[in-house]
């Protein structure tokens, strides 16, 4: 009996579309024939909004882009503004930024791990990884008072110096996390069902990945060793010794493995930064009403989800004329159709999960 192709709408209200994403699917029984992501349900007009805000006022708004990695958004924006101003940041502030952003990467990857595992049915992992993520959110809470939308960067540095209590908490997390992560890996790495659901699923070739402009762990899982932290260092990343994890199959399992390795590398970076934390200022004074001479700038960082860039055009006033954001999730999501076509319907959920998208960043 031949099945008729049916159109199936996944979302915007659906348990596993990671927010308000709608997928228009054409399925032939269980096999996906066509897929189209429909975005924009979370559009808040961020880029336009920024044109009416001062440079300083924009920083807390960037928290709401990739809300699982607020500090990374902060950093990308702040670095772009500082580059435009030609501002030199004290070494201590740069190190604290690295510590915060790497902790944020840990938090983001752990949240991803939970969602991803939940998408393929391993629901306990969600709770375990969120419990581990809690350690990091507690650090943020102790540092700036917020947990999710952390407003932890300022133009010219970071809002507070790291005090002993926060440093103690970070060291505690550094000591505890490797064991906890190893426990989670024990549940998944050699699990036959997990391997069935991830190995060879949603594979994308190296060339396709580059053509799509994929970045972040999704790109590194296809065998391209491209990491802005290492290749175009910013914020003193050149001081630290870390590896760029690379896998070669480009499937869901490789994306998982790359992220798990990145978690370990991030722990390494944080440990080095804490050990070598230089003395000095954590914030340089910048004028309260910040007027930036006309010019334009583009700066990217390696955010947990991929390359996050800000283009800022200044017209000499205290508000930017135009801000454009290059969001990694937006670009990575485009490859979903290529990865899902011909796969089974249930794999779409796993592949979508493996891309690690956040709709706040896609819809802006």
């Amino acid at each position: 009996m031949a099945f008729q192709e049916i159109a199936l709408n996944m979302g915007p209200q659906h348990p596993s579309t990671h927010g308000v994403l709608r997928l228009k699917l054409n399925v032939d029984n269980e096999v996906v024939r066509a897929l189209e992501p429909v975005i924009g349900y979370l559009h808040r007009g961020m880029e336009k909004l920024w044109e009416s805000q001062t440079y300083v006022q924009i920083i807390p708004l960037t928290d709401r882009l990739d809300y699982l990695a607020a500090l990374s958004n902060n950093l990308a924006y702040v670095l772009a503004v500082e580059k435009l101003m030609g501002l030199e940041i004290p070494k201590r502030a740069q190190y604290i930024r690295v510590i915060l952003v790497e902790l944020q990467r840990l938090a983001s990857h752990l949240a991803w791990l939970g969602f991803m595992a939940n998408d393929v049915g391993a629901m306990s992992v969600l709770l375990y990884s969120f419990e581990d993520r809690e350690d990091i959110l507690d650090i943020f809470e102790a540092y700036v008072g917020a947990r999710l939308t952390v407003h932890g960067m300022r133009i010219g540095g970071v809002p507070f110096d790291l005090d002993d209590r926060v440093i103690g908490m970070i060291r505690g997390a550094l000591d505890g996390l490797p064991k906890k992560i190893a426990d989670i890996e024990k549940l998944l790495n050699d699990n036959r069902i997990w391997l069935h659901r991830t190995r060879g699923v949603g594979a994308i070739s190296r060339d396709d990945a580059l053509a799509f402009g994929l970045t972040g762990p999704t790109l590194r899982a296809t065998g391209v060793a491209w990491d802005i932290r290492r290749d175009i260092p910013y914020s003193s990343y050149e001081d630290f010794d870390f590896d760029v994890p690379v896998r070669h199959n480009g499937d869901v399992n490789d994306r998982y493995l790359v992220r798990m390795d990145e978690i370990r590398q991030s722990l390494r970076i944080v440990r080095q930064a804490l050990d070598r934390l230089p003395d000095g200022e954590h914030l340089v004074k910048v004028p309260r009403s910040l007027k930036i001479p006309p010019g334009e700038v583009f700066h990217t960082i390696e955010a947990p989800k991929g390359e996050l860039g800000f283009y800022i055009k200044s017209n000499g006033t205290d508000k930017p004329e135009r801000v454009k954001m290059k969001s990694p999730s937006f670009i990575n999501l485009q490859s979903l159709e290529r990865m899902s076509k011909g796969n089974l319907f249930s794999d779409v959920v796993g592949i979508l999960g493996s891309l690690d998208i956040v709709l706040g960043e896609i819809d802006k």
Binding site: V120, G121, M123, I193, H196, L344
Partner: protein, 344 residues
Amino acid sequence: MTGLTLLFDVLIPGLKIAAVILYPMTMVIVMIWMERRVVAFIQGRLGPNRVGFQGILQPVADAMKLFFKEDIIPRQADRFLFNLAPVLVMVSSLLAFCFIPLGESFEIKGYAIELWIAQSPVGLLLVLGLSSIGVFGIIFGGWASNSKYPLMGALRSVVQVLSYEIPLGMTALTVVFFSRSMDLVAIVNNQKDAKVWFGFLLPASFLVFWISGIAETNRAPFDLPEAESELVAGYHTEYSGMKFAFFYIAEYAHMVLVSSLVVILFFGGWLPPFPNVKALAFLHGLPGFAWYLIKIMFFLYLYIWIRGTLPRYRFDVLIKLVWKWLIPLAVLNFVIVALAWYLL
């Protein structure tokens, strides 16, 4: 004397009929509570612990809530089948409990009381048959909703239940070889006479039966028909209120049924363990029903444990598993047991 006879002839069957409905229901309540608590502990949470002692009344509170909820029937649904489906699912799993012996029979004033409603020479066949009628409820529910997610859930369910019934039946048959009867009471009594539970004689049968049983009840890791991350809630996505509760209760009742079958076929039903060890004779002090409960609780706990640990299978792998592994294994097992029985 006639009064007493009347009492036994009318009251006792009446009580038993009430029990066959109340017993699965009670087990379902305990099971829902246990599942939520145990999964919570596995995941480092507390789970429901407010309503009643340790939250034991939480399922009752949930049922009350569902009872008062609006009953929505989608406009495009086939009303007759839509309403029939939950009933069918519920009735089939409750009816099967008529044949499940809960304990050994005992006598009060010379009147034998049996802890089962019906004893049939083909009891095993009837239970398996009745429990698979439930799949019609799933198909009807998925089809009548006139919605895509329930339909896909129902399609998956049909394929899954039909496939897994083959190894289930094949392995149940190996037990029949030993017991020479399909009567569930006789099967237990045979294990008593043999002084060994069939599960130890037929480990392969037990394993295949248990795995197929999990798949048959649509539970993790085989819970594809209601795979939350893809199909929202699967075949009962469009159901609300008490009709949804029927599906929910039936699923748990089905789990209790499959666990009961495993215990009866492979682990001696109500028999106490270690009948041969003199030092452990005190174990016989517990009534048979208690032993039966302890055993099925163990298997029900396994259900929860597995759910808390494993990811979900994908559809094609699930079907590959049954056709490439479980069915050949079941057939091989069947042939070996048959040969062994014939030659020895």
